[in-house]
């Protein structure tokens, strides 16, 4: 299944925070162990695959109502279930102070691990960060609760189009959190060429000058998607066996041609010089400036995203699990994050992943110094969502075919 930009396995921030070793074993085992809890899954009869062409309005169930309006927020401890390094600690601190509560954050490392725990009903987090390809299943399994919009006036601060997203029409169960694109990061000081100078920008992955310094995202969807786009296949959610075969062979050819490596630490690999070309999430391009070694400036970095906007795009959301102990407080927290100032600070000071706030126009972000001028292409605009392609959920058969192709490539056959 799709990896998330925050599924950064051996990121140093993450490593230091978690205290290393056991983390691996635990994160892998937890998926298995969570399975022991069984699941309270309902029927999948109504399951639809949401895409921009097939936006889905999810049902509201009688036995899973939203909270009533006008309730006072609970006291106690707000429990957040999130990716690591995806929320500025000061946000938690300030929210706790303002509401006189405690805020506690627990991290997960893969969507599947999180879904396994949330769906088991054995955990009672108040705030959860799902992904577009899983939210439908979580809703149908009644693992999330519908949101009461009266607590969320700040949603008006967002781009109008994203207030009514294709994966959850009417934002019934989620509010948008961040947006990003998947492009190509490169070192302008190490390479004489760049993607925009090539007739086919994706050919940069085969550039012999970057052999051994070539990275793709370690992601079974993002990496093949660029192979499809290189070949003019704009349906990046294709399940056509011929397309899958083509993408797989393109990937395999990179092993000899470029000694390609796979990583999700794009935000450190490129600034530190491990990579000269790195398939990259735009949020990582913005964070990269914090990891530049002494003597290297942000001018050395480049980020390419198709000028016509026909690239890979994604967005994230926040939701409230049904099992939440503090649902009213959780609504307040969601609204707090949608506040213009809080959203901006969270992005500019810490995550690098851009919230879809109307107030954040590219000129302002560059003039504020949040995004270096040469990385302007890493800023997501509302109009990008009209042209770019999100990686949507696949049918189980399609997902299996893609995963097996990816596994074969990763086996280095």
């Amino acid at each position: 299944m799709t990896l998330h930009p925050r599924e950064s396995r051996y990121g140093r921030r993450e490593l230091l925070q978690r205290g290393a070793a056991g983390a691996f074993a635990l994160s892998s085992m937890s998926t298995l162990l969570a399975a022991c809890g069984g699941s309270n899954g309902g029927s999948s009869a109504e399951l639809q695959i949401a895409t921009p062409d097939n936006p889905v309005t999810w049902p509201i169930y009688d036995d899973n109502p939203m909270i009533a309006s006008g309730l006072e927020p609970e006291g106690g401890t707000l429990r957040i279930y999130n990716w690591n390094a995806y929320l500025w600690p000061n946000i938690k601190k300030n929210f706790a102070k303002e509401y006189g509560v405690k805020v506690e954050e627990t991290y997960f490392s893969t969507t599947d691990e999180a879904v396994a725990k949330i769906s088991s009903g054995a955990v009672d987090f108040d705030v959860f960060f799902p992904t577009t390809d899983r939210i439908g299943r979580l809703i149908l399994g009644k693992a999330l609760q519908p949101l009461n919009a009266e607590y969320l006036p700040n949603i008006a601060n967002l781009w109008p189009s994203i207030q009514d997203p294709w994966y959850d029409r009417g934002s019934q169960y989620s509010v948008p959190y961040t947006t990003w694109t998947t492009g190509i990061g490169y070192r302008t000081d190490k390479l004489s060429t760049s993607p925009d100078k090539l007739a086919n920008p994706y050919e940069i992955y085969w550039d012999p000058a970057a052999k051994g310094k070539m990275f793709l995202l370690d992601d079974s969807r993002d990496a093949p998607a660029h192979m499809l786009l290189k070949n003019g296949i704009m349906n990046v959610n294709t399940e056509d066996p011929a397309d899958i075969e083509l993408a797989k062979n393109e990937l395999k050819s990179l092993i000899d041609a470029a000694s390609v490596k796979l990583s999700t630490d794009d935000y450190t690999n490129l600034p530190e010089g491990k990579a000269w070309v790195h398939q990259m999430w735009s949020g990582s391009a913005i964070s990269a400036k914090w990891y530049l070694p002494e003597g290297t400036t942000a001018d050395a970095l480049g980020y390419w995203f198709p000028e016509d906007g026909r690239g890979i795009i994604g967005s994230d959301m926040i939701a409230i699990p049904k099992a939440a102990k503090n649902p009213v407080l959780a609504h307040h927290f969601l609204n707090y994050l949608l506040d213009e100032k809080h959203g901006y600070d969270n992005f500019a000071e810490f995550t690098g992943y851009q919230p879809p706030l109307t107030v954040l126009d590219p000129d302002k972000l560059v003039s504020d110094g949040v995004v270096p001028a040469n990385l302007r292409t890493s800023i997501v605009r509302e109009s990008d969502f009209d042209t770019a392609f999100p990686l949507t959920e696949l049918t189980p058969e399609g997902a299996t075919a893609w995963q097996n192709a990816w596994a074969e490539f990763k086996a280095g056959v």
């Binding site: 699941s39 899954g41 599947d112 769906s119 979580l138 051994g212 000694s259 189980p396 596994a407 086996a411």
Partner: protein
């Protein structure tokens, strides 16, 4: 190396008491080994939840679903398939890394055991020191040492072996094998040391008295005596190496150096084919059980021979 004492009869009161002492250990093994292994089996033979796509273990062996194993075996026995390629690669890497480890570990253990003298304690502490730092941290340290402007390149350029920095992290097998050797060699030194230290000096003196040269003494007395220890060291480091996936991930990250553990990780970390990952684990365990079985057989045989 004396003949083990004859087993005490079942009816013996004392025997039951001593057998009772094994109960906590047996309970421990049942709770922390047998049960988790059964869970893995049930996941491997299970299905996935149609809605959440999370693994659903099948607890009843009569209803086990074998499709994950069929998929794994097909990949293992099809030439050029992903699973077979990775399995063979893993075997080769472990073989090479274990051999290098033995070449490093034996002289070190031999030196400390025979010539450590009053430094023995300090040398042992030095050997144990790496255990105080997590495996992961040590591998991250190697990344820094091996990178373009790292010390490895600087030293090699200083002594004139290299003209320009070499990219050791570009996905080459040698870096991964180096990581494996570095990471596991202390685990081999310790059992070897423990055994070599216990060798009866009078045996060596007897060999010398009978006219053997120092080398002959080593070849005909010390080495055969340390056979079981060598085997133990090999087993101790080879078993975890077979399951290693973070060493290739950290020191290479390239598909051409990925190991069986990386494929397990890929299938277990995400997606709806967790049973395939679990089946790979089971197959790997079966393979390792065969190795382990040979080890047990060989040590039992050695015991008998020495006892005779």
């Amino acid at each position: 190396m004396s003949e083990p004492t004859a087993p005490v009869g079942e009816s013996d009161e004392g025997g039951r008491f001593w057998a009772g002492l094994a109960l906590p250990g047996i309970a421990w093994l049942a709770v922390f080994f047998v049960l988790p292994f059964y869970v893995i089996l049930c996941v491997a033979f299970g299905t996935v939840d149609p809605l959440f796509q999370t693994p659903t273990p099948e607890w009843n062996p009569l209803q086990w679903n074998t499709s994950a194993f069929e998929f794994v075996f097909e990949g293992l026995f099809t030439s050029g398939a992903g699973f077979q390629t990775v399995f063979v690669r893993t075997f080769v890497y472990v073989l090479v890394a274990t051999t290098i480890s033995l070449v490093i570990a034996y002289p070190v253990a031999y030196y400390v055991a025979r010539y450590g003298g009053r430094w023995k304690g300090l040398l042992l502490a030095g050997l144990i020191a790496p255990f105080f730092i997590s495996y992961l941290m040590r591998m991250l340290a190697w990344i820094n040492l091996l990178q373009d402007d790292g010390w490895v390149n600087e030293v090699l350029m200083w002594i004139g072996v290299l003209d320009a920095p070499r990219n050791w992290l570009d996905g080459r097998a040698s870096s991964v094998i180096l990581g494996l050797v570095y990471g596991y060699v202390p685990f081999m030194i310790l059992p070897l040391y423990a055994f070599l230290d216990r060798i009866d000096r009078s045996l060596l003196e007897a060999a010398r008295d009978l006219g053997a040269s120092p080398f002959q003494t080593f070849r005909m007395v010390t080495l055969p005596l340390s056979g079981p220890a060598i085997l133990a060291g090999i087993v101790i480091i080879a078993l975890p190496m077979f399951g290693d996936y973070y060493t290739p991930d950290l020191l290479s990250g390239a598909p051409q150096t990925s190991l069986i553990g990386n494929q397990v990780n890929l299938y277990i970390r995400g997606g709806q084919q967790v049973p395939v990952g679990a089946a790979l684990v089971v197959v790997l365990m079966l393979f390792l059980t065969v190795l382990m079985g040979y080890y047990l057989y060989a040590t039992a045989r050695a015991q008998r021979r020495l006892g005779a």
